[in-house]
Each structure stands twice: as structure tokens, then as C-alpha cells.
């Protein structure tokens, strides 16, 4: 394998090539912690950028009630549809509500959606993948064909159909997204389990007549969960996007919920004249998903060095 230019720096001794002045360590083979940190940041600029953005979004979501300049639901017709100004940085919507405050509160909704969907998808997918990969055979074929069914739908279509069946609401949209996403975790987990199930420590555990359940949970799971974690970090952004799309077409979040996709959707009748009603919530979705994707990319590079320099 040839080394690409990004990975070339990894082969150089850290201490000697360090140009970061004061942080530079004298010993060529024992770089200080700061230098190591600096090197990590230098090599993973986009990861760090994503992490930084995500931290800001997370803090905004956590402290929205204290950070938001206005009550996000406060209706004030005297300031309706005003453009961005010092009083309202992102302008106001058709009910005179402060868009900045609503965008801040919207961060809560989106993060909660992302966490819930991924958690449920993993809770369904990981056990299936574990069992499927560990026992193999007919059980494996049946379980995998079952997941194939869920993957047979074009993206976004299955969540739409499930949400339609359950009745349009934010909770149902989350359930629908989790049901549509779990097959990926089942597949990834299965692959990871299959690659380690013939390891010596697994057969050793078997000869000690440790139960299958215990082997799966105590010995296999801890050694096989990394790919699923990387997948989760990548999927987090997509679930937020998908949920926003569902809200946008009117089958996800409903007023009075504060959700970015819904905000964009509600602005549809007037965004041609009042761009800020759509632009800022849209931007919030974009930045959040971008931050999460950058983290996911970086995580994969760090946890799976084989792919380094290729992304």
C-alpha cells in the first residue's frame, strides 16, 4: 500500500518535526502530552472542527432556556416577519416569535430525535446481529433475509409508510426511523461477530461450558462493538436529516413542537419574500449534520486506521 500525503506525517517522529514552539519536547522519542495533542489536532482538523461545532450545539441545547434571548413561543404581532436586527438576530416569524430562540430550542428536539432513533435502532439491531453472527446456520439466514426486507425500500420511503400507518406524530416518526435503521446495525454487528467467533478465547470459553448468552455478552460484544459505534456516529446526522424531512412533509413534529424541519416547512408560504424564516432553521440543520458527519468521519479514521487518508 502506498502512503498518501496525509498519512505520511504519521511516520515521522513527532518530537523532532514539531514546529509548535513552546510545546515542543526535547526528547525525540518522548513527545509531551501537549505536543501529542497538537499533533492529533493537526492530523484531524476536520474531526476537531466537528467536535467543536457539536459541543456548541450540545451546550446550546442544554442551556437553551438560559441562552435564548426570548421565550420561543412568545407571540408578538407588533414585530411579525421582521428581518435580522440587533433585537432579533435571526429575525422573527409570521407570529412575531424570535427565530434565534426557536432555533436554540430546536437543537433540543433534533438531538433528542437523533439519540432516541439510534438507541432504539441499536437495541433492535445489535442483538439480532450478535445472535445471527454467533450461531450462523439457518437462524442466520432467516434473520438476515428478514433484515433484507427492510433494506428493500428506497431510503426515506419506509419511514414514510410506517409513519403513515402509525399516524403522523414525532414519536411515531422516531419509531419509524428506528425500524428503518436497525438492519444496518444487525448487519454490521453480524460481520464483526463472524470475524471473531472463531478466536481462541471464544472456544476456550465454550470448553469451560460458559453459557452462550454469557459468551455473547461478556466476551463477544465488548470485542465487536466498535464498527457499530462508528456507524452510529455516522447515522446520527442522517437520522436528524430524515426526521427533519418527515417533519417538513408534514408527518413528523407538529406545532407547538419546536423542530427545525417543521420551522422550514411552516415558512414555505412566505420564504420567497422573507428568506430568514427558512434560512436560519435550515442552516441549523446543515451545521448540526455537518458537525456530526465530521465527527463520524474522524472517528472512523481513528478507530479504523486502515481507512486513514482515504476519506
Amino acid at each position: 500500500m502506498t502512503l498518501s500525503k496525509t498519512s505520511a506525517s504519521e511516520t515521522m517522529p513527532v518530537g523532532r518535526t514539531n514546529t509548535r514552539g513552546a510545546e515542543c519536547h526535547e526528547g525525540p522519542f518522548e513527545p509531551g502530552r501537549a505536543a501529542l495533542m497538537g499533533d492529533f489536532v493537526g492530523r484531524n482538523k476536520l474531526f476537531v472542527l466537528g467536535l467543536g461545532l457539536f459541543l456548541i450545539i450540545l451546550l446550546t441545547a442544554l442551556f437553551a432556556p438560559w441562552l435564548a434571548p426570548y421565550d420561543p413561543n412568545n407571540i408578538d404581532f407588533s414585530v411579525k416577519l421582521e428581518g435580522p436586527s440587533w433585537a432579533h438576530w435571526m429575525g422573527t416569524d409570521d407570529l412575531g416569535r424570535d427565530i434565534l430562540s426557536r432555533v436554540m430550542f430546536g437543537a433540543r428536539t433534533s438531538l433528542i430525535i437523533g439519540i432516541n432513533v439510534i438507541a432504539v435502532a441499536m437495541a433492535i439491531g445489535i442483538p439480532i446481529g450478535l445472535v445471527s453472527g454467533y450461531f450462523g446456520g439457518r437462524l442466520d439466514s432467516i434473520l438476515m433475509r428478514l433484515t433484507d426486507v427492510f433494506l428493500a425500500f428506497p431510503p426515506l420511503l419506509l419511514p414514510i409508510a410506517i409513519t403513515a400507518a402509525l399516524g403522523p406524530s414525532l414519536i411515531n416518526a422516531m419509531i419509524a426511523l428506528a425500524i428503518s435503521w436497525f438492519p444496518w446495525y444487525a448487519r454490521i454487528m453480524r460481520g464483526a461477530v463472524m470475524s471473531i467467533r472463531s478466536n481462541l478465547y471464544v472456544s476456550a470459553a465454550r470448553t469451560m461450558s460458559i453459557s452462550h448468552l454469557k459468551i455473547l455478552v461478556r466476551h463477544i460484544l465488548p470485542n465487536a462493538w466498535t464498527p457499530a459505534l462508528v456507524q452510529a456516529s455516522m447515522d446520527f446526522g442522517y437520522t436528524i436529516l430524515a426526521a427533519a424531512s418527515l417533519s417538513f412533509i408534514g408527518i413528523g413534529a407538529k406545532p407547538p413542537a419546536i423542530e427545525w424541519g417543521l420551522m422550514v416547512s411552516l415558512s414555505r408560504s412566505k420564504f420567497l419574500d422573507y428568506w430568514w424564516t427558512a434560512a436560519f432553521p435550515g442552516l441549523a440543520i446543515f451545521v448540526t449534520v455537518l458537525a456530526v458527519n465530521l465527527i463520524g468521519d474522524g472517528l472512523r479514521d481513528i478507530l479504523d486506521p486502515k481507512s486513514r487518508g482515504q476519506q
Binding site: V149, I160, I249, N293
Partner: protein
Amino acid sequence: MKTYLAQRLVQMFFILLGVLTLTFLLSRVLPGSPVEMMLGHRPSVEQIEAARAELGLDKPVAVQFLVYLRDLAQGDLGTSLRTGQPVTSDLFNRFGATFELTTLALTIVIVVGIPLGVLSAVRQNTWPDHVVRTTSIAGMALPVFLIAMLMQMVFYGRLGWFPLQGRIDAEIALDFPFAQRTGFYLVDSLLAGQWEAFKSAALHLVLPVVTLAMASMAVVTRITRNTMVEVLQQDHIRTLRAYGVGSRKVYYKYALKATLIPLLTVIGLAYGYMLGGSVVVEFIFDWPGMGGYAVGGITRNDFPAVMGATLLLAVIYLSLNLVIDLLYHLVDPRLELK
């Protein structure tokens, strides 16, 4: 090849059966929905019973499923509660609109997205690569509906170059009528020699097509780049270089050939994205296709329409994957051995 084809068809049959079971479960067995949707608020007990009998919901689930399959085999997807027409004919009328939209968008993606990915890989870690990579990372984070609204804002609102939505100007369609032969307005209007209608259809196509293309372009470019980078690192390419074979020949004759299979996968993936994305795009641009039909069905409680469209789109997607699988075998005879 034949055994493989047989295996694949059997597999597809079972997946299709699974898909049918799933749509059946979603449309019939889940509590409430169809009856409630038919009757609206506060129906009487008799009304509910009558509706259940009419829909066949009073029969055992297994019987219902068989009836569902029998109806499907006869091409009966139920009657749309919104249009009063059979869902099958509704979908048939809308198929052309979706197909025209996705075909054109796919063409753009193949013609623009794949070369961009190759360029990015060949010029790895130079500025064109950085530009392509940054844009595609950013592009993947952009929701389709935002791209669409941005398009409408700039090209309709500010510049006034293209119409806001729809498939053709209603007046022009009346003044310059043309027969529906292929379902592609561009083709049909040309065949009829209706130049004005062609122009209107083309103008209406631009924004939705570009939106849909942009939405899957990022993924396609990214995957193309990564596969190409991988291929360029392989030993046979290094050997070719060592023998002094020119770059152009290495890239276009040898490297690209090795990326054919992943590229086929990418194209399949892109088409899947488009079928999914078309739902949102058709909704925003008021495009009279299958996706918009499904969404319109949800908000107006037209359950047969939603399930019919879902089923048809899933079948299209499945068949496409099958075709791509078969193409793999045409492109790479080594797969025969496995």
C-alpha cells in the same frame, strides 16, 4: 450464470414476499388506521362494523393476507380515497413524471458526479481534491428540501428564470396539446411537434432535476473518489506505472475498468437515493409523480395510495438492484467462481 440467476431470483422472490407482508401489516393489521381514515370522527359501532366487513377486516389475518396477494396479482392496489380512482391507474399515470425526473437527474449525476470523483482521486490532496471533498461533505449535510427551496428562492424568486413548480404551464398544455406516449413530456411534446409545450416542460424540469441530482451527487462523488483512490493504490497499477505506462492510459484504460463494479453499485445507490428523494422533491415542486402522490395521500388520509406507491417504488428499487447484480457478472467474470 444460470444457477446464479436462479438463486438470485429465488432470493428476490422471498424478499418481495417479505416486502408484501410488511406493507400488508402496515396497511391492514395495525390498529385503527384504515377504518378511522374512512369514517373520520366518531363513527357509530354499526358504521365501524360495516366498514370492517367492507374492507374484509372481519376475516382471519391469514385469509386477509391471501386476499391481499390475490388482489395484487390482479394488479389491484385498492381505490384511492382521494381521487376515487384505482390506485394502480393513478400510479400508472404518475409513473412517467417520476421516471422522467429521476432519469434526467441520474444522467446529471453520472455525467458530473463520477468524473468529479475520479478527478478528486487522481489529484489526491491537491486543491481540486480538497474542493471536491469539502463540497461533498457539506453536500451530504444539506437536506433535500433546503436545496429545493434555495433553488426556488434564487432562480424563481430573484432571477425569475424558471417556474416555481408544476410540470408544464396549464395554458400551454391546453393550447399546444400532445399525446402521452412515453410519459416523458420532453419526448412526447417533441413527437407531437409542439415546440412551445416542449419549452415549457423543459423549463419546469430544470429546478427539480438539479435539486434531485445535487442531493445524491455528494454521495456518488465521495464513493467514486474513495474507490478510485483504493484502486490507484493497488499493485497492478503501481506495476503499470513502474513500466512507464502514461498516466492517462493508466487512469482511463486500467484504473477505471477496475472501478466499474463499485461504480455500478454507486449508480444503484444513487438511484435509490433519488427514489427516496423524489418523494420530497415532488412534494415541494408540486410534481405530479408517485412520490408526491404518496405524500399527498398521507396528509389526506388516503391510505391505499400511500401503500400502493410505497410498494411500487420498493419493487422498482428491488428490480434495479437485481439488474445491477446481473451486470456485475457481465462485467466481472471472476464472480462466477464464487
